[in-house]
Amino acid sequence: MENFGKYFRVQIKRAAKSLPAVLFPALLLMGIAVLLGRMIWSISEGSADKQKVQIALVGDLSDPYLKLGMYALENLDSIHFTVEFLPMAEEEAQRELDLGRITAYARIPEGLVESIMWGENKKVTYVTSGNSGEMVSVLIRELMETVSTLLVESQNSVYGMQRFLENHGLEDRMWEATEEINLRYFDLFLNRTELYKMEFTGISNELSLPGYYLCAMMVLFLMLWGIAACPLFVKGDLAFQKLLRARGQSLWAQVMGEYAACLFLMLASFLIIGGILLAGIRYLQVPIPEWEGASQEEQLVFLLQAVPVAALMAAFQMLLFELVSGIVSGVLLQFISTVCLGYVSGCFYPVSFLPEGMRRASAFLPSGISIRYLDGCMLGNGGSPGELLWIILSLLLFLGLTILVRGRRLRAA
């Protein structure tokens, strides 16, 4: 026990010595991040237009029907606040796309409306420079499919009617009937909300998206923190630990001493940076619905409630440090595990966006457990006892595994 106390003190001293060196650049970068956040916020607050996805329209836009169609599309309820169409020349659109000022451009072929009238649809080309799987592209694709269905089905109907009139010797009514059926289609389109009746159940006891992402980002930060700690905790060889073992320092005492130092350093970084982040959120007045009207003390309590999560993450990272024998491998393992666990647990996309299998897996991962626990804390119920129990069990499991791996490594050495 005396040995444990000594080792524990030495490890804490070692961690404390490197704390300023770890914290200073982190604080500096956090300051930059807060300023960046302020910039984002001022841009998004300044003008609603700047939040929109801007799509340039190039090519033959002279047709009045096309203008009407684009106007109707731009003013659809569902995309009114998300998409803006900007007419421009193709060269200008390409330049704007290259500079990332627009999301994409749509090339309208010459005589598009005539081709639609004759049922030989020319294709509108949607040109993007980014990833086609990006959320905006996927949404636009979905929307275009809808527009296409409406157009093609309406064409089938109008041409079918004209053929019917021809077959039944009613050509004299052709223009009048075509106009009438087109008007009916406009009516069908404009009154489409009459097709469904809306009912609202009210907000459930679940987090808002900003609240959810704050919790997810906290977990992601704690996981990424392990990369910064690699030079301090990854051991190239275990000569010193072997010596300690020979002098009667048990594996348990070694690992717990190092764990205490790791947790101390992590908590110090987390609480200082978290404090600044909370101040930044208050300063920027980021609208997190769960914190509407909450005092600074309540927000600080939330930060303190995250201590068990930090304890779990420190234990998980101790295991990762123990599994590798070099900084390069250590950092790589930390990065890969952070990305994989973060992805599966909903740190990047909300967990509801993921397939069922991933969602089930996330319930057993340290990151998934942590996010769920923090969600509960943010909702004001202090995290459920069940989640807390999971955290404690996982923490003990990771520490146990670390001791096992350390034992194996010492025997092999």
Binding site: G130, N131, E145, S157, Y159, L188, S204, L232
Partner: protein, 383 residues
């Protein structure tokens, strides 16, 4: 030229030193396996919204057909069938689903009434939500597009039968006239800025797989950053004092290059195996440029940070910043001044936009010029 063989020797020896660590090889080997796992997982049903589909009458043919269409079609919305209306509403209330679409009993009759202007009081579908969002509004456009072919035919049929036909017309004849026009397919087509680009295989249009290229690009950069840590550690241990002239001016670049090239090779292999691949020429050229950029960026950062602790602290924050600011998950506008500092920004943009390569080259020139200035004799960052 006389330095080339020495350079190769250093490169070989440094690589040998790195690859002797089995954990490094195992971790690199894990990358294609994890990506393959993600590909398998992405085949499962997923979506940005979970919508439950419910029938007031299970025997109703049209609602059954519409539900089947919704379930079978690829979409970013995840649909599932729910037999009980009450259970479906409870799922929404508890947050397990985002909406329920309840199709009314006698949907065909409802469509006929609606399109003949006889009776429009009764809604065809009841939509139950917790709150209305832009995503849910977009989802309702999908509902409209699935109902639309039936509505369109209903309108056609009613207009002809009630307004035009002088004698009774059979439904078969009308159906034949409607289908005769044979206007099919989408009027939209997708293209990249480089119109000759093929689509990205399974990853194309799949939001779950879309960030793969970006994340793997960050992995390559991370290998460079870890090499910086390693370099700093070796320097602090006085390892380079044994090398004649400290290994020469190019030595730090070679040192970084080993880890970066190993990671790049694994990442390229992953792209090829998973078909996130455009063409040999483009992939190799861009990866070569990216490797050079990563080496310069990491070496410059190492010089600026000076100590291993500061460098290690910068890494997670830089990775977080790059994940957000580079087009890995989303493309942010208005941050060009910050984004243009990161090599991954140029690489990811140049993949589908070869015009970006010229910006990439300018970036490399500026990066190495700054690196040279920071490392010039007498500079406080030289060591």
């Amino acid at each position: 030229m006389r330095h080339f063989p020495k350079g190769f020797l250093f490169f070989f020896l440094l690589n040998k030193r790195l690859t002797k660590k089995y954990s490094f090889l195992i971790i690199l080997g894990m990358v294609p396996l994890l990506v393959a796992g993600l590909f398998l997982a992405a085949r499962e049903d997923s979506g940005v919204l979970h919508i439950l589909l419910c029938q007031e009458n299970q025997e109703d043919l049209l609602s059954e057909q519409v539900i089947r269409e919704l379930l079978e079609k690829d979409s970013i919305l995840r649909f599932s069938r729910e037999a009980s209306k009450a259970a479906a509403c409870e799922e929404v209330r508890s947050g397990r689903a985002d909406a329920v679409w309840i199709f009314s009993d006698g949907l065909q009759e409802g469509v006929d009434n609606y399109t003949s202007y006889r009776e429009r009081e009764e809604a065809l579908v009841t939509v139950v939500e917790r709150e209305d969002t832009v995503f849910l509004q977009l989802a309702r456009e999908r509902l409209y597009s699935v109902l639309y072919p039936h509505l369109s035919f209903g309108l056609f049929q009613n207009y002809i039968s009630l307004e035009l036909a002088e004698e009774e017309v059979s439904q078969e004849e009308l159906r034949a006239e409607y289908q005769m026009a044979e206007v099919e397919g989408s009027i939209f087509q997708f293209s990249y800025r480089n119109s000759q680009d093929a689509v990205d295989g399974q990853a194309d249009g799949n939001y779950l797989l879309a960030p793969l290229r970006g994340l793997l690009a960050l992995l390559v950069l991370l290998c460079g950053l870890t090499a910086s840590l390693y370099f700093q550690q070796d320097r602090e241990a006085g390892l380079f004092l044994r090398l004649p002239g400290g290994g020469g001016k190019l030595f730090p670049y070679l040192y970084h290059m080993t880890a970066v090239v190993d990671a790049a090779a694994v990442v390229l292999l992953t792209f090829y195996v998973t078909r996130i691949w455009i063409s040999w020429g483009r992939e190799l050229l861009l990866m070569a440029l990216y490797c050079v950029a990563c080496v310069g960026f990491c070496n410059l950062l190492r010089k600026l940070c000076k100590t291993i602790q500061r460098l290690a602290t910068c890494i997670p924050i830089l990775l977080l910043a790059m994940t957000v600011l580079c087009p890995v998950f989303i493309s942010l506008k208005h941050f060009f001044m910050v984004q243009c500092l990161f090599p991954a920004f140029y690489y990811l943009h140049a993949v589908h936009n070869t015009y970006f390569v010229k910006y990439f080259l300018v970036y490399l020139a500026v990066l190495y010029a700054v690196d040279f200035l920071v490392g010039r004799p007498g500079s406080e960052y030289q060591k």
